[in-house]
Each structure stands twice: as structure tokens, then as C-alpha cells.
């Protein structure tokens, strides 16, 4: 356990204390107590910047389930550090923002911060763990905390819907990813990413390789909201805005990108990997930007915009992989630099935009662009931040978005030089998507802040947000400008991250604003010209959104699927879960008998030998006969007292058999237990009906068939098991060591209290629970009993 482990676990530890703080300190907003943690963590991780810049990788291991190859290994390299800084940095700003966004009087702050801390820890775990199983566990934990945060206002129908949707889709992908991880383990024999990467060359021709690739990609695509799995992200916007800014734009949705980047060294050589990533990435890029234009809700615009930008980063990684495949390391460098750089920039400008939208929502009570307008004069600071954010998003100079957009164009144009078919399509789609990106960026800022002010449609009278709420977006917006003008200050973070993805290449990154009049610049100018024209003529071409029939919408499909699954399981449930214990037991018995007898003969495993049998004595035959006769007689008896006595007879005979079989302890116990049970039965049955209810004849016949089957099955299995000894008994150890190790002579007792004392301890615990349950059943009804009678 090192300081690094502690850094990951710290959010969980603090989370435990949040409810206490919330309960006892009402006067101060709980967020203030949380805020120091991400700041500290940010400072802590910053100390690694110089290390990773010198290509120093820090690894700390904590042994967890070593026998299965699962160790909590933390690895800080460039990529992990970049994400860790994003998580803690944006996390600090978001928590600061949330302090002003969430009212301490009205909202349940304890749950909010517990979920948020849960997410922070889990996300740190995802990006810093080197063990895939640990990564998977944290990965699912992020899905889970996202579910809780989306459903934070759980009394809203739409929140619950969005939460469920995100959970279903991301966990589905997560499970596929687990499958991929296990396939990778099968191929390489390790869960460690470092070791898998080292073996990358040897596994590429393995038959399971493609399956593992697809599974891992499915996990990444669902998490990073790639088409067609993007549908959960717009619905996730029901979460409080700080959450949307944090999880659903800056960090969690980038986990998929992280995974793709992280696994690139393993998979990048395969054509399927680059093909799928480019195809899905590009289509998502286009579809997200195209859909964003038709949205009227500010957060929906941002959601689709996030989808689109995630597609952009994804497609860049794909082009990078393609460059490697076609052996153009210099193109790989450009594309990957663009991807990582844009990932950072996206976090800054999208974070600030989400916060701006949150402010607008908070101050006006609506996020509908049809109701908003003319807020420029009322909220000048917010407007300025919004302008910076949207211009960066649209790719305009001098903001950081411009730089990464230019690099994105370069990366996409480079694809033309690689020899695969249809490569022209890549820059074309990239350009079209950029036009749409430009349009929705303009919609976002100008429909909200300029135009006609409509106070009558707003719920509140808007005014500028409190300063506390503005600090975080201002910091982010200033980062947008600073990185835009001095992009090389982020190099110490950026370069190690790119180096991590493909460590074998040496390169130098230099980002600059002005490259001369090249294709990229003309593409940007084209985007601006066409974008402005299309924005102005928005009403004339908006009709194309009506062309798509609503029935084809993915959401329809999702809802339909969910609904039919719900109905299907309901009807299955109704048919199978009849509420009759007879049915349940029949299913179990029939299944057991068919399965085991079937496999016994199917595998031709039935054996029968008469070797090594103990001799039969005359009195033993009598004992067994009594057992057999009384157990069969038990079936036909109708009187309760006789059936109790017959059961008692069986019990006593069994204890006699125990004596015959040299088991004195068992005989003693069985004898006493039988006595107590019989008296217990008598005590209870005094109150039960004298005659036992009987089944109708057909049911009896069916039951008889099943039970004969079970009897037969036991006999067959018993004979086979007795005739085949696969390995020796482990008892010899106990027999030899009873006296020397445990100083006892009664082996059975020594096993119970010493060698296997753990079992006994839990057994008596179970007994205690049974006693408590019985006590509860009998004693605790006096208050509740009346309710049942009233019904």
C-alpha cells in the first residue's frame, strides 16, 4: 500500500464521512469540506509531471488476489497522469461550482457528494490501474456512480429513465469488455496491461484475438457514447449540471477513449481495429454534430456536441492506428497528438460551457433556446465565457479549440496518403461535421445571449450569477485562451501521454498557431463561411430533420427493446413462477435428474464394480429393511401421529446404523437429536390438523414418477461414485495429526473444533439465526397479527 494507492482510495474514505459532516454541520455547505480533497490530489499528481516528462514510470503494486493474477497495481505514466490531472482538476472546479449550484437548504447534499466522491475515486482507479480486472471493477463503479448521479433527482420520471438507460448501455458494454479482458488473459496469461503490451506481437494471430478486440471496443464505444450507443448521453443530461460537466463531458465519457488509447499498442496492428474506430468515430462525429443543430434544449445541444467531439477524438485515434498499420509513424504522431490535445481542450471549453448553461438555467429557470434570448446585457460575464467556450468549440482562433481543430484536419488529410480505399471520405466527413459544429456553437451562444429578450417566458428574473459560481468557468475559459496562445505550456503533460501510447517512436511536438496558408487553414475558412451562411439561413433548411421517420430513431428501438423484454420476462415469470411449491420442486428435481442421468450415460461414465465392499451382517439387513419399510409406509399414512412415529423410527434406525458403521459420535448425536425432534414435532403437531390433506390421483402419479426418478438417480450416482475413486481421501492427514497437532484423540471432535473450526463457528451462527427466526415468527406477531386479520 503506497501513497498512490491512498490517493485513489482517499475519495472513498472521505465519502464515508460525508453523511456525518452533513448531519452535524448544517451551517456550512458540505461542499466546502470536500473541496480540499481534489485540490490536494491535483497537487499530488502534479508532482508526477516532471517524472513522466523524463519518461519515468511509477509503478506500485499491492497484492490482492495474487493466485488469480489480480493485483492492485497502480501505474503512473503519461496517459494515466493526464487523465488523473483532468479528473482532479476539473473535479475541484466542479465541486467549487456545485457549492453555489446546489442549495444547501433544499438538496440532499450528503448523497450528492458521496456519489461524486465515489465517481472520483473510481475514475482515478480506471486510469491508474495496470491490472485489467481492477480496471474493470473501477470501470463498472464509474457506471454505477453515474447512474446514481443521473438519478439524483429521483422523483423526476425523466431522471430515472435516463439513469436506467445509461446504466443498461454502459454496463452492457462493460460486461463485453470483461469478456474481452478474459479472452486476453486466455491468450497471454496475465491481466497486467504492461505485460499484455509486451506480448502484443505474439497474440495477433491467435484465433481469439478478433473476439477480444471486438469485446474491448464494445466496452469503449458504449462508455464513450459512440453511435449507436450514444443515445444514453442526451438522456443523462437530467443529472445536475455540475455532474454533466464533470462526468458526461470531461471525464467519464472519455474512459472509452482512454481504453482505446491504452489498448492501442495491443490491437493497433490489426486492420479491424483501425477500421472500426475510424468508421464509428467519424459517423459519430457527423451524427452528433448533425443532431445537435436540431436540439432546442441547451444541455441537449451540449450532449450531442459531446457525442460528436468524442467521435472526433475516437476517429483521430483510429487514423493514428491506421498510420501505424501503413507504416507512417509521422502521421501517427500528428493524429495522436491531435487526439490527446483535443481531449484536453474539450475538457476545458466544454466544462466551461456546461457551467455557463448551468448558470443560465439557474438564473432563468429554463434551458429552452426558444424562450431564451437577449441575456447579453443582463449577464455580461457569463456571456463572455460563453463566447470563449463556443468559439473554441467551433474551432476559431485564438482559442485552443482552433489549434486542435487544425491538427485534426491535418490528421484527416494525412489519411489520404495512406493507401486504403475511400480514404477521401475521411477529410470530407470531418469537414462537414465541422460545419455543423460551427452552426450549433453559434446557436448555443447567440440564441441565448442575443436576440429578443422575452422576460414573460422566464420563470425568474435573470441577473448575473454570484461570483462563486463564476470562478470555475472563468478559470476554464482563461485556460482556453492561455492554451490557445501559448500551447506549448502543456507539452510536459501532453508529450508523455502520447509517448505512452506508442513508446517505440521518438518525436518532438511543436504546436503553433500559424502554419501559413495551407489546406487546413482554407478548410477552416470554408467552415466559417459556409457555417455563417447556413446559420443565417437556418430556418430554410431545417426541414431536412423532418425527413427521417421517427420510427427509425434509435431511441424508439431502445424503448421497444426494453418494453418487449419487460413484457417477455413478465409473462415468463407468470408462467413459471406459479406460486406453487410443488411446481418449483418439480422443475428442480426433473432438471437435476435429466441433466445428471443424461450426462452420466451421455459421457458413458456409469461404472459399477463390486470390489472392496464391506461384509454384510444379518442384523444390518434387518436395520436397513426397517428403514426401507418405514420410509415407504410413510408415503401412505394419513394420520399425523403415525407419520411422526415412522419418521422417528427411521431416525433411530439411522443412528443404529451409525453405530454399526463405527461412528459413535454420530450415533450419539443422532439419537439425542431424534428424541428432541420427535418431541418438537409432537409439540407443534398438537396444533396441526389431524388428517393430512391428500393430493388428487393424477398429481400423485406424477409425483411418484418424479420421486422414483430421483431415487434412481441417487442410486446410479452413488454406485458410480463408489466404483470410481478419482483421488485418495484427504483424511489421512487428520488421522495422523490429530494427537500431535491438536492434542486430542477423538478425531471427529478435533476436526470439528480445531482443524475445521471455522465451519463449526459458522454452523453455530446459522443455528443461532434459526433460533432467532423462530423466536421472531412466534413472538413478534402480536402487534402485526391484527393487521392480517383485518385484511
Amino acid at each position: 500500500m503506497s501513497l498512490l494507492h491512498l490517493a485513489i482510495i482517499a475519495p472513498f474514505i472521505i465519502a464515508v464521512f460525508v453523511p456525518l459532516i452533513y448531519k452535524h454541520i448544517k451551517s456550512v455547505h458540505t461542499g466546502w469540506f470536500i473541496l480540499p480533497l481534489p485540490i490536494l490530489l491535483f497537487a499530488y499528481f502534479s508532482s508526477y509531471i516532471s517524472k513522466t516528462a523524463n519518461k519515468q514510470v511509477t509503478m506500485e503494486s499491492f497484492s490482492w488476489i495474487s493466485s488469480l493474477g489480480i493485483d492492485f497495481t497502480v501505474k503512473v505514466d503519461g496517459l494515466g497522469l493526464l487523465f488523473a490531472l483532468l479528473i482532479t482538476g476539473i473535479g475541484s472546479l466542479v465541486i467549487l461550482y456545485s457549492i453555489y449550484y446546489l442549495s444547501k437548504q433544499r438538496e440532499k447534499l450528503n448523497t450528492f457528494y458521496v456519489y461524486l466522491l465515489l465517481f472520483m475515486g473510481a475514475m482515478l482507479g480506471v486510469v491508474l490501474s495496470d491490472n485489467l480486472i481492477v480496471l474493470y471493477a473501477f470501470w463498472e463503479l464509474t457506471s454505477f456512480s453515474s447512474f446514481l448521479l443521473i438519478g439524483y433527482w429521483y422523483n423526476r420520471e425523466k431522471s430515472r429513465y435516463g439513469a436506467q438507460k445509461s446504466m443498461i448501455i454502459t454496463v452492457l458494454g462493460g460486461l463485453a469488455m470483461l469478456g474481452g479482458i478474459i479472452l486476453l488473459y486466455n491468450m497471454t496469461g496475465t491481466f497486467s496491461i504492461t505485460e499484455i503490451v509486451a506480448q502484443a506481437d505474439t497474440i495477433i494471430n491467435h484465433p481469439l484475438f478478433v473476439a477480444a478486440l471486438l469485446c474491448i471496443l464494445l466496452g469503449a464505444f458504449t462508455k464513450s457514447a459512440q453511435f449507436p450507443f450514444h443515445i444514453w448521453l442526451p438522456d443523462a443530461m437530467e443529472a445536475p449540471t455540475p455532474v454533466s460537466a464533470y462526468l458526461h463531458s470531461a471525464t467519464m465519457v472519455k474512459a472509452g477513449i482512454y481504453l482505446v488509447a491504452r489498448m492501442s499498442p495491443v490491437f493497433a496492428e490489426h486492420t479491424l481495429w483501425m477500421g472500426l474506430i475510424i468508421a464509428f468515430g467519424l459517423f459519430t462525429l457527423f451524427w452528433g454534430s448533425f443532431s445537435a443543430v436540431k436540439q432546442t434544449d441547451l444541455k441537449s445541444i451540449l450532449a450531442f456536441s459531446t457525442v460528436s467531439q468524442l467521435g472526433l477524438i475516437m476517429s483521430l485515434l483510429g487514423v493514428g492506428a491506421a498510420a501505424l498499420h501503413f507504416d507512417h509513424p509521422e502521421y501517427f504522431m500528428v493524429a495522436t497528438t491531435a487526439a490527446i490535445f483535443h481531449l484536453m481542450n474539450h475538457a476545458t471549453f466544454k466544462g466551461s460551457l456546461f457551467m455557463v448553461v448551468g448558470i443560465v438555467d439557474h438564473e432563468t429557470g429554463t434551458r429552452d433556446i426558444r424562450k431564451l434570448g437577449g441575456l447579453m446585457n443582463l449577464m455580461p460575464i457569463t456571456f463572455t465565457i460563453a463566447i470563449i467556450g463556443t468559439f473554441a468549440m467551433a474551432g476559431l482562433p485564438p482559442f485552443n479549440g482552433f489549434l486542435s481543430k487544425e491538427m485534426f484536419f491535418t490528421g484527416m488529410i494525412n489519411a489520404l496518403h495512406m493507401d486504403f480505399d475511400w480514404s477521401i471520405i475521411i477529410p470530407v466527413i470531418a469537414w462537414i461535421a465541422s460545419v455543423f459544429t460551427f452552426i450549433y456553437s453559434m446557436i448555443l451562444v447567440f440564441k441565448t445571449f442575443t436576440g429578443k429578450y422575452q422576460p414573460e417566458k422566464l420563470e425568474k428574473k435573470p441577473h448575473e450569477a454570484p461570483i462563486g459560481m463564476l470562478i470555475s468557468p472563468i478559470i476554464l475559459a482563461s485556460l482556453v485562451i492561455v492554451i490557445g496562445i501559448f500551447p506549448n505550456i502543456v507539452k510536459p503533460i501532453l508529450v508523455p501521454a502520447i509517448e505512452t501510447i506508442m513508446p517505440m517512436y521518438e518525436f518532438d511536438v511543436h504546436i503553433s498557431m500559424w502554419h501559413g496558408f495551407n489546406t487546413e487553414l482554407f478548410m477552416t475558412i470554408g467552415v466559417i463561411v459556409v457555417g455563417v451562411l447556413m446559420y443565417l439561413g437556418l430556418n430554410k433548411w431545417r426541414g431536412i430533420y423532418g425527413i427521417f421517420p421517427e420510427k427509425l430513431a434509435l431511441n424508439r428501438f431502445y424503448d421497444g427493446l426494453l418494453d418487449s423484454m419487460h413484457k417477455g420476462s413478465y409473462s415468463l415469470n407468470r408462467n413459471v413462477m406459479s406460486g406453487s411449491i410443488n411446481h418449483y420442486l418439480s422443475y428442480m428435481f426433473i432438471f437435476m435428474v435429466v441433466l445428471i442421468i443424461g450426462s452420466l450415460f451421455g459421457q458413458n461414465a456409469f461404472t459399477f464394480s463390486t470390489d472392496n465392499l464391506a461384509p454384510i451382517e444379518f442384523y444390518e439387513v434387518i436395520l436397513t429393511l426397517i428403514v426401507a419399510v418405514s420410509s415407504i409406509a410413510l408415503l401412505f399414512v394419513k394420520s399425523r401421529i403415525v407419520s411422526i412415529l415412522l419418521t422417528g423410527t427411521i431416525g433411530y434406525m439411522v443412528s443404529l446404523l451409525f453405530i454399526v458403521f463405527r461412528a459413535p459420535d454420530l450415533a450419539l448425536t443422532q439419537l439425542v437429536i431424534e428424541t428432541i425432534s420427535v418431541s418438537l414435532f409432537l409439540l407443534c403437531f398438537y396444533h396441526l390438523p389431524k388428517k393430512l390433506t391428500d393430493d388428487p390421483m393424477p398429481v400423485k402419479v406424477r409425483n411418484a414418477v418424479i420421486s422414483v426418478g430421483v431415487g434412481l438417480f441417487v442410486i446410479l450416482v452413488g454406485l458410480t461414485a463408489h466404483s470410481t475413486k478419482l483421488f485418495d481421501s484427504i483424511s489421512q492427514y487428520y488421522i495422523e495429526n490429530t494427537y500431535s497437532e491438536a492434542a486430542g484423540k477423538n478425531m471427529v471432535n478435533v476436526i470439528l473444533v480445531d482443524f475445521r473450526g471455522f465451519d463449526t463457528m459458522f454452523e453455530i451462527a446459522v443455528l443461532g439465526i434459526a433460533a432467532l427466526a423462530i423466536f421472531g415468527l412466534i413472538k413478534l406477531r402480536r402487534n402485526g397479527g391484527k393487521k392480517i386479520e383485518n385484511k
Binding site: 413462477m577 411449491i581 465392499l613 407419520s643 431416525g651 437429536i673 425432534s677 396441526l688 420421486s707 433460533a771
Partner: protein, 113 residues
């Protein structure tokens, strides 16, 4: 002897299954008791019967009977007792509360799912 015991265990399993499938609560409880007897005997038989002296150190014997199944069964006997007692009380309580020992009448109706 082992084969005889396996058959006895089979018969016990059969009667137990039949009893558990019936609709009378009392029979079901008795069925679980009989089932546990069957399990114990089968378990003991699987460990081998009469292979030596009782598992007590100090018996001047060259071989001992396998103590491990015995320890397992001892645990099982006591647990079976606890379970039987719990079932008994459940049956007893439901009979007092609902006035029937017929399991088919104790099914929840459709509105209750």
C-alpha cells in the same frame, strides 16, 4: 454393504421427494427430515464403510474409519435439526394464521406479484 446402503439412500431420497412434492405442509416437513437422513447415509457410504476402528486415537488398530465424512455429517445433523425446527414453526404459524395445511391454497394470487 455399500451397495445395500446406496439402495437404502435411494429409497430414502425417493420417499423424501414424494413427500416434498405433496401439498400437505406436514408431509413436506417430514420429507425434508427424511431427505437429510438419506444424505447422511449416502455421505457416510461414500467415505467407505467399516474400514477400521472408530476414529479414536488409542484404539489399538491398524486402520481407522474415515473421520472426515463423520465430522461433516455431525455438522449436517445439527443444521438439519435447525432447519426442520424452522420449517415446523413456519408450517405451524401459517396453519394458525391461514387455517390450512394445503400448499396449493397458499399460493399468492395474481394481484400480489
Amino acid at each position: 454393504m455399500e451397495i445395500l446402503m446406496i439402495f437404502i439412500a435411494g429409497i430414502l431420497f425417493m420417499s423424501a421427494t414424494y413427500l416434498m412434492l405433496s401439498r400437505s405442509v406436514v408431509r413436506i416437513i417430514l420429507g425434508t427430515t427424511v431427505l437429510s437422513h438419506g444424505v447422511h447415509l449416502l455421505l457416510l457410504t461414500m467415505g467407505g464403510l467399516k474400514r477400521g476402528a472408530p476414529p479414536l486415537v488409542g484404539e489399538e488398530a491398524s486402520a481407522y474409519t474415515d473421520p472426515l465424512p463423520q465430522a461433516l455429517i455431525l455438522t449436517a445433523i445439527v443444521i438439519a435439526f435447525g432447519v426442520t425446527a424452522l420449517f415446523l414453526v413456519l408450517g405451524y404459524r401459517s396453519y394458525k394464521e391461514l387455517g390450512t395445511d394445503n400448499m396449493e391454497k397458499l399460493r399468492g394470487n395474481d394481484g400480489n406479484d
